[in-house]
Each structure stands twice: as C-alpha cells, then as structure tokens.
Amino acid sequence: MIGFLLRRLGLLIPTFIGVSLVAFFFIRMLPGDPVLLLAGERGLSPERYAELMSAFGFDQPLWKQYGLYIWDLLHGDFGTSISTKKPVFTEFFTLFPATLELSICAVIFATALGIPAGVIAAVKRGSGFDHTLMSTALIGYSMPIFWWALLLIIVFSSGLGWTPVSGRISLMFFFPKVTGFMLIDSLLSSQKGAFLSALSHLILPTIVLGTIPLAVIARQTRSAMLEVLGEDYIRTARAKGLSPVRVVAIHALRNALIPVITTIGLQVGTLMAGAILTETIFSWPGIGKWMVDSIFRRDYPSVQGGLVMIALIVMIVNLVVDALYGLVNPKIRHQR
C-alpha cells in the first residue's frame, strides 16, 4: 500500500511541474500589456512604466521569470494580484470557502438523491420508475447548466419570488467571518433570519451545480447495483431468508457503493468547471467567478496562481480517491 502511494505521489511531481509550466507560459502569451492595462485611460510616463515593469519582474528574460516563479511557489508565494494588490494566495483562500461550501452542498444534493434513485431503479429494473429515472438522468447529463440556471431563475426567482437571484446572503446581515462557510457563520452569528437567508441563496446554485453529478451518480449506482445483484452471495443472502430490504441495503449496496464513491470523487474536475458557470450566473463570490473575472481583467498573477492551485486541488483529490480505492480494492494496488 505504501509503495502504491509513493508511486502515485511520484507521478504528481512531473505533473505539477507541467501544470506550473502551462500556467506560466500561457499567461505570458495573453494579449495585452498588463502594466498599460493597470494604468487604464490615464496612461503612464515612460519612467513610471519601466519602474512598474521591473517591479512586477516583467523586464527579466522568460526563463528567469519562470525560475523565480517556481522558487516563490515552493515558498508559498503565488504572486500579487495586479487588480487588488493583495497576495494571490490570500485572495484564493478568502474566496475558496464559498466555492467549497457550494460544491459540498452540490455533492450532498447529488448523492442524497442519486444513490437512492439508482438503487430503486436497479431493484425495480424495467419498471416505469426505472425508465422515467434513466430518461431523466440522461436529460440531466445532457443539460447545459448555464441555461438550466437561467430557467430556474425565471421560474423561482422572478416568477415565484421564492429565492434571491445572486450573492451568498442578503445585504441586511453582517457578521464576522469565522469558518468562511455562510451557513455555519450565519448560525454562529445568532442573528434572526440570517441562516434562512444564507440557505435561500444557496438552493438554486446547489441544484444547478449538482445536476450533472446527480445524473452521473444515479446512472452509476444503478449499473453497479445491477451487477452486484446478480452475484452469488446475494442469492445466498436471499436463500438464507433475509428480508429483501436487508439484502439490498446491506449486502448489495455496500459492495455497489465502491465504484460509486470513486465516481463521486472524480467529479471534482466537473464541479470546478461547473462552478465557473454557476458562480458567474449567480454572482457567487467564489473561485470560479474570480477566475473568469481575472481572465477578463488580464490579471496575470491571479490567473496563474488560480490555475496552479485549482490543478493542485484536483490532483490531490484524485490521489486521495485513488488511495481509498486501492485500500478497499487490493487488485488495483498491484497494477501498473
């Protein structure tokens, strides 16, 4: 197991170097001069321009800039945002809880609905429920989520007036940040209505971000369950006279869940891509919206740092999922 983990960790290093190279060089190739962009309409004197260029290190040769960049990265310095003048690292982790909160809620939403739905569909294979569910799952899987978000806003926000359109909480409420998770912080603040406000802001983005994972999880659960239900040990359990509920819930589901959990773990990339669209539409102040804004503002250091950190998070989560999978399934460990 340790050897397996070390091998996987070893694979991360070249990937990480590649990621940093990609982030570094692509950003240098972006059109537009960041210093001139920073100056805006007023323009700059040539002296001030040169001063800024050297302050940001843009006057050095590229390879030197990259060397410095890696050196700083290894020391936890991801550069300074050009537009806010704050360290990218700080900026990222100020906004990250918002994305994390949304993603966790989306995963909970997708899992809580997807697994039971998949199990029932498998048990009642070929029934009307099964057909309806699988068709719905395919529609969910094919959904352009940015449109889905707009539809939900039309119906629930502007039509019925049930949910707010944007942000994380109503502007009426103000309380200090403790965890960065709005749901928890609003409870801690013990202000009346704060928690409900935070919750109502969270509902639509959660549904939007959770839709594709929900469809994937329901489909995956169904096919994993069907496979397991045909196994001999299930027949044995049934023959022993165990109740059908027990057979399904304990004997079958437990084994069917292994590939499903892997699938959930591997949805991180999908979630991050979805977060870009979801956060942009709902003005959710998280990493996805920040990345899009940074790209449009040509904020080189922010895009660069964001790319590297997001890739790092995806890589680490995938590693953890792999390790967990290796833990429960020894066959995987010994493969190359």
Partner: protein
C-alpha cells in the same frame, strides 16, 4: 427464439444495426440527429427569415406573434430578429463545432495514443505525463484560458476544446494498443515483414476502434456544450453570430421581461446534446460488448 435456417454470419453492419435498433432511445436519438443535420444543411430554405434581419416594429415579440413581415413562431429578440430562424442557422454552428472538434481530437488522439502504446518507453512516459497535465485542469477552465490566449472567437474556441478533449482519446487508444500488440495476429504481421506504420495503422488500429467511436459520440456532445458555455461567457462565437450559447449570453439581460429569448436557445442545445447522447448509449451497447448495458 425461432430456428434460424441459414447459419451464415450476418454482415458486421447488419449485426451492428440489430443491436443498435434494439435500443429504442438510440433510434430516437438517431432520427432526431438526422433531422437536425437536414435542418442545418437546408437552413436557408427551412428558415422563415434571414437570421440577421431586424424587424424594428417587432422588438421582443412573444412567440406566435403575427408581424407585418409574417409569423414569428418563437418570437423575436431585442433587435427584432426572428428567433426560430436564428436557431435553425445556429444548428449549423453547433454541428460544425462538434464535427471539427471530434475530428481534430480523434485524429490527434489516435496518432499520439498509437505512438505511445506502440513504442512504450520514454516516448510513452513523456506523452502520458503531458496528458496528465492537461487532465489536471478542469476542462472548461483550461479551454477558457486557452481562448483568452488565442483571442475570443469560434475557431479558437474549437481549437481549445479539441486540445482539452484530446487526452481521453490518447488514453483509450494507448490502452487498446497495449492490449492488442502482444496478440498473435500482430506478431504474425510483424514476422511477415510489416513495418511499424503498417502495424500501427493497418494491423492494430481497426481492432481498437469500438471504444474510440463511443468516446467520439460522447465528446461530440461535450464539444457542443463547451462551445456554448464559452459563447455564453463571451469567449466563443461573437455576436451577431447565431450560435446558441452566444444567443443565450445576449438574452441574459431580458430574462425577466422575455422568457422566450432565454428558453429556446437553451432548449435547442439540450435537444441536440440529448439526441447525440442517446445515440452514444446505443453505439456503446452495439459496439462494445464489454460495456454492454447491464
């Protein structure tokens, strides 16, 4: 099952069709898809109006409005352009995007994957590490950054999406090649004097096609979704192109006043993607017995 009189093996195509047509959803998807293709090809004939013509008297007209120029079945947008006509012409873009992205990533992925799986060693290691790097980024984020570098526009969006989709083909091809290259028929071809290129493309490749075709169907719909998302974010096709994602981006500010400008372009994307995914499921069942629907 009734007794079969002639025990001849049905042709591959016939056998494929038998499995494919068993899946009603797949057939429905195929019919829809063919209809979409025909509509896109015949767009100038089918569309009631020119997609860029602005009817100044009918701005944001709701569906089924009788204007001076005729009937606006799906209404008009903020500039008075007929939405139905724009959607019909938009089908051209979406299908074109799908075809181009799949062709680029499929061909590139096959060549790179064949090389990696066939030669192994350092070539393989380098290629697979590069693919790992691409896969480490969420696809839409990488495509977005690439488009920002290359400049917004439909062509650059297609290139970016193709680059992001490529690693899946490389991995599939490489895995299939590694499974096949030790087989007897490959050895016998090698002994018979076949060169590396012949072995790769003529001997091995045809036996690795099934998972690649399934993946092609999946990434066809993925490409349409990603291109629409990029258009929606303002980084794909630029207005006034009637690309569906771009149309949605233009419609966003009218969301509270005119539901139809937002609803129909998204519905068009959903139906197209759904038709392709239905077909993809059927293809998988028919081509890949290992992945057979359980």
């Amino acid at each position: 099952m009734t007794a079969v009189s002639a025990p001849t093996r049905p042709s591959q195509l016939k056998e494929f069709w038998r499995y494919f047509s068993e899946n009603r959803g797949a057939v429905a998807g195929l019919v829809l898809f063919v209809a979409l293709v025909l509509m896109a090809v015949a767009a100038p004939i089918v569309a009631p109006f020119d997609p860029d013509q602005q009817f100044r008297d009918n701005l944001l007209a709701p569906p089924m409005t009788h204007g001076a120029a005729g009937l606006f079945v799906l209404g008009t947008d903020a500039l008075g352009r007929d939405i139905l006509s724009r959607l019909i012409f938009g089908a051209r873009f979406s299908l074109f995007i799908g075809v181009v992205v799949v062709s680029i990533s499929l061909i590139g992925g096959i060549v790179i994957g064949l090389v990696a799986g066939f030669f192994r060693g350092i070539v393989d290691i380098v290629i697979m590490r590069v693919m790992d790097v691409i896969l480490a980024f969420p696809s839409l984020l990488l495509a977005l950054t690439l488009v920002a570098v290359l400049g917004p526009g439909l062509v650059n969006a297609m290139i970016a999406i193709a680059i992001v989709a490529q690693p899946h083909y490389v991995r599939l091809t490489r895995a299939a090649v590694m499974a096949e290259r030790g087989r007897d028929y490959v050895t016998s071809a090698r002994v018979a004097g076949a060169g590396a290129l012949w072995l790769m493309f003529v001997t091995i490749l045809p036996n690795c096609m099934a998972p690649l075709i399934v993946q092609a169907a999946l990434s066809f719909s993925g490409a349409i979704l990603d291109a629409a998302a990029l258009g929606f974010l303002g980084m794909g096709a630029q207005p006034p192109t009637p690309e569906w994602g771009t149309m949605l981006a233009e419609a966003r500010e009218f969301i509270t006043r005119a539901w139809w400008v937002v609803t129909f372009p998204g519905l068009a994307i959903l139906i197209t993607v759904l038709a392709i995914n239905l077909m993809g499921d059927g293809l998988r069942d028919a081509l890949d017995p290992k992945l057979k629907r359980s």
